[in-house]
Symmetry: C2
Subunit: 340 residues, 2 copies
DNA sequence: GATTGGCACTCGAGCGAAATGAGTGCTAAC
DNA sequence: GTTAGCACTCATTTCGCTCGAGTGCCAATC
């Protein structure tokens, strides 16, 4: 049974510990915060919190630090995510507003997020699954090699080398370009791939292998390439917070550089689509990140294409501020990519 | 005056110290290497080397470690850069050979290089200055907004949003596409921009502002965007070698994430175009990397477009192996990008 | 002149004892 | 339910000490 004052105590323990990295003592609590009770009373509350495994003492006679469970309760019930001030929004806008293309937007976003939170920032490339085909271009680079360039309505450009089963020349490529564009322009990518497969039969025999190859590549482009890409910035911040990890941060950095791991993690956190979702400490054990917390939020590109962005840092982090930053950046990015 | 044996002593000091991170003692030298002289003699040689500031003693009674100057001499005159074995070459080929486009090639290259050297690897995007235009594509994304996509003969794709001074429709864009492609296809990028400027007058008045805008953007695309981009991998390796830096590695990581710094450094090292050039310790002082060494090599994309790649790590690194790796990867990459 | 054995000297690393002090847990009183 | 008081714990710091690796130097030797 934790009283409501005990929860207040938990809150100040989390806040003080995050600010100072020192285990929080009962005495410092009564000195810094006006609880109107004595240190001994706070100690009783602390005993109750420890009973519930919300805080723990690193050694017998020392202050307390929050456990993963304590942070979880803090995030779920105690943290107030203060909305960003207009000034802060303005700063985001001016920083991201100068971007020239999607790549640039995302590169700026990840840097911005790392600066706002002083943590490692991560941005997943938006899925193209619901984007629509704006134009398909083919450029021959060799007799049996075609560079396909796919341009979508959010301005994203995907390229791919296609190995062809038969020789083609400029004329054939020209026909191909005209016919295929007529066929798929305006269609969502998923449908476009399907349409191509269907249409394959209606083309002359010599075209078919080419069409099939293109259709296959188109299908792959929908998700495979894009969603597997991840931008990272602010690795230096992880070094700065080195002392918050019991061992070396080496395995952590390794896990982060292994994009596959993070993409899985992002995938699991996708339940809460557009709100900020938080995964704390041992909740990330399966990913080798049991001393780290990850905050992510979904964001939408034009047409509903969904991806995630977020930050990663030690469990001892400023959740209030970071959740606010992740939310604000995700929202602004959604607006920016939705506009075109 | 350093005798030729003294230089041998320097070599083994560098090699042993790199391998063990322990200051190297005269006794260990005579034990591990067959010099045929006593420890006292080695000590005399060491005294001579210390006189020349090629080695130094961390404290009065301890073995010696190489100074920056010592490493420099080692690299210039003592290191043998053993060429990669066919097996190693094969490994490089199979790893890079699977790539689907230029972006992918570079992403794989940087990972490969970091794995081969166990250091932070860096790859600069190739300049497009000597690449030739294969195709220019325009896609309207709004009445006054055009997405330009530039495809070069090395398969690199550059995109850019152009803000137009006047409305355009699909028909105009179609004409534009046809005319411009006729005009610039096959030209090196630099010439293409110039050609556009010249041709501007010959177009109808309504076209001119569009042409000018495109020409301007083309000109910018030549270098501005590309050469400023840098891929990095293996930051975790820096953490592994933390103990080789006197203070924290935080400032080092920070400098690395600040791409501008590295690009300047790359620029200064560009004197030796295709060989491996090495910058050691305090030689990098101006970049905040006075405890790090950087090895780079130029590589060429099709048509002579030049860029650099390399690795960065503590001054205490295996120069022989790393120089070999940088050289081998640069050569293979040049071949791969030159082919198409 | 180069090499070597011998020896004194230096200085960091490692160890244990002791002092310090912050912070708790408990109990009895309010 | 709250509080003051007090004993107890334990990480941290400091000091002195020893140990030993490694050097510098010198005189003897090749």
């Amino acid at each position: 049974m934790v009283s409501s004052r005990s929860l207040e105590v938990l809150r100040v323990i989390v806040q003080d510990y995050v600010a100072s990295r020192e285990p929080v003592a009962s005495k410092t609590i009564v000195e810094k915060h006006a609880f109107g009770v004595s240190a001994a009373t706070i100690r009783n509350d602390m005993a109750a919190l420890e009973e519930e495994e919300l805080i723990t003492a690193p050694h017998t006679s020392s202050g307390r630090v929050p456990t993963d469970k304590g942070y979880r309760l803090f995030v779920d019930r105690l943290a107030e995510v203060k909305p960003f001030t207009p000034a802060q929004r303005k700063a985001i806008e001016t920083f991201l507003g100068q971007s020239v293309d999607v790549d640039d937007v995302l590169a700026r976003t990840v840097r911005l997020l790392s600066q706002l939170t002083h943590q490692v920032a991560l941005v997943q490339y938006p899925s193209l699954s619901t984007a629509k085909v704006r134009h398909v271009e083919f450029v021959p680079v060799a007799a049996r090699r075609l560079l396909s360039v796919l341009i979508t309505d959010i301005g994203a450009v995907e390229q791919r080398i296609i190995e062809l089963p038969a020789d083609v020349d400029d004329i054939i490529v020209g026909e191909l370009r005209a016919k295929l564009n007529g066929l798929v322009a305006g269609l969502p990518l998923v449908d476009a791939a399907a349409a191509l497969c269907d249409a394959s039969e209606r083309f002359s025999l010599s075209f078919r292998p080419v069409i099939d190859a293109v259709a296959r590549v188109l299908g792959e482009q929908v998700d495979a390439n894009r969603q597997e890409r991840l931008l990272m910035a602010g690795a230096a911040n992880l070094v700065r917070t080195e002392h918050d990890f019991s061992g070396s941060i080496y395995p952590v950095l390794e896990a982060i550089e292994e994009q596959v791991i993070l993409l899985k993690l992002f995938g699991e956190m996708a339940t809460d689509q557009l709100g900020v979702s938080v995964s704390i400490g041992r909740e990330n054990e399966a990913f080798g990140l049991s001393e780290a917390s990850v905050l992510t939020s979904g964001y939408t590109a034009s047409g509903g294409g969904l991806a995630r962005l977020g930050v990663l840092g030690p469990t001892r982090m400023d959740y209030s501020n970071n959740m606010a930053a992740v939310r604000a950046v995700a929202r602004y990015l959604s607006r920016l990519l939705g506009e075109n």
